[in-house]
């Protein structure tokens, strides 16, 4: 008997597909996504329903389903597209079977049978989808960690650590380790910590920065905190945080100048010097002429 139900569904697949497509189109009108072209949408719908039928017919999950899910995920379509589609399919199938004339199966049985046919597909899709998300999240985590505490040796004895984004406990730990390792490795005398990209400096962030600066001092180098925006300076004062133990500057440029002074270095612009000499000679010539 179970087989009969399935056969009825498969035999009438054309009608069902038609009904399903209409329902889906109706549903999609409510949540129209203008970014998706109508053609792509219809094609995907058609493919989707064929895959559902393929799975229902064989009563097993096909590899088509996997590749289809993967494509939908890559397109960035929401999971609700797939689950809604399958729910609609269930409804269409049930309605069709109940209204089918030659059928003398009690309604609960019909419901149960359709459930048995469709639910494995839903489960598979949801698993696939959430698996893909978990994968993305963990990859991003790794990517974020790679970005979290870069150390750039810009010149002899001067190293810069630009910090961008929120600092949490885990990252603070990472920053400290990287900073100290880098100072030793690059023989840095001065380290500039740039917090231009840190959105909020609360007591915890400040605490971690103070600790890092203190640790840098202990290994014999100096830490300069740069990139303190005006609004951040005001909140730091309001919070009553004491940052007087190490030099601070408003911009990386100013901090870098200070760092050069501290390491007895200088940046000389060769071009402009030539120019000034030429100008000097020119003006001398002119003064002679006059």
């Amino acid at each position: 008997m179970a087989k009969n139900l399935k056969e009825i569904l498969v035999d009438n697949s054309n009608g069902l597909v038609h009904m399903w497509l209409e329902e889906v189109a109706e549903k999609q009108k409510e949540v129209t996504n203008s970014a998706i072209s109508q053609d792509l949408f219809e094609n995907t719908n058609r493919e989707f329903v064929n895959i559902i039928f393929g799975s229902v017919e064989k009563e097993s999950l096909t590899s088509d389903l996997d590749s289809f899910t993967e494509r939908v995920i890559n397109l960035g379509w929401p999971l609700s597209y797939l689950t809604d589609g399958l729910q609609l399919f269930k409804r269409v199938a049930i309605e069709f079977l109940i209204e089918h004339e030659e059928l003398d199966v009690p309604v609960p049985k019909v419901l149960r049978h359709v459930d048995e046919l469709v639910n494995p597909i839903i489960n598979q899709l949801v698993n696939e989808y959430s698996g893909s998300w978990e994968n993305t999240v963990s990859l991003q985590r790794v990517a974020l960690q790679e970005l979290s505490a870069p150390l750039i040796p810009v010149m002899d004895n001067i190293t810069v650590m630009p910090l961008i984004g929120t600092i949490d406990t885990e990252r603070a730990k990472f920053i400290m380790e990287n900073l100290l390792d880098g100072v030793i490795k690059h023989h840095a005398e001065v380290v500039l910590i740039d917090i231009t990209g840190v959105p909020v400096v609360d007591t915890m962030v400040a605490h971690h920065i103070i600790q890092a600066a203190e640790a840098v001092r202990l290994i014999g180098s100096t830490c300069i905190l740069v990139g303190i925006r005006p609004e951040i300076a005001q909140t730091i004062v309001n919070l009553g945080i004491d940052l007087s133990k190490f030099p601070t500057k408003s911009s990386l440029r100013k901090g870098f100048t200070t760092a050069l002074e501290m390491t007895n270095q200088m940046i000389v612009q060769t071009n402009s010097e030539e120019q000034t000499i030429e100008e000097l000679i020119d003006s001398l010539d002119r003064s002679k002429q006059s």
Binding site: T166, D168, T169, P199, V200, V201, D202, T203, M204, A206, H207, I210, P230, E231, I232, Q234, T235, N238, L239, G240, I241
Partner: protein
């Protein structure tokens, strides 16, 4: 009291969520950039206190109005261990976690109004208000 929106604090990253929401909300109310930073920092402190000491709780946001001026009201609610001696935590430099101890007194200075009620074993509620200038 019914709040317009609440952000649950359970993980460390929820602090960022609450802060971001507070910043957007204060921007919508017409706060300047410095006050936005103040509000975001205050939320950060309150949310971190919830995360560190109570484990979980929530930060609620609402718009308040007083004769002619508008403001943001932020309430941090938790059901944690509570604070035994409130005057002690309001002192600068007091911390049980090895931090700077500037959190709560700092929040008080960052905001215009500050109310704290706490019962040992029942939880803490901190209500702060900042007016648009």
């Amino acid at each position: 009291m019914d709040f317009r929106t609440c952000v649950n604090i359970q993980k460390e990253w929820d602090i960022v969520g609450a802060r971001q929401f507070g910043r957007d909300f204060s921007k919508k109310l017409g706060f300047g950039i410095v006050d936005q930073a103040r509000i975001a920092t205050a939320i950060s402190e309150l949310a971190r206190n919830i995360y560190l000491y109570a484990g979980s709780g929530k930060i609620c946001f609402d718009e308040v109005e007083n004769v002619g001026s508008r403001g943001i009201c932020i309430v941090a609610i938790d059901t944690g261990p509570g604070i035994k001696d409130i005057s002690q935590v309001m002192e600068d430099g007091f911390s049980t976690s090895g931090g700077l101890g500037a959190g709560l007194p700092g929040v008080k200075r960052l905001m215009d109004e500050f109310d704290i009620t706490s019962k040992t074993g029942e939880g803490t509620e901190i209500r702060v208000v900042k007016w648009v200038r």
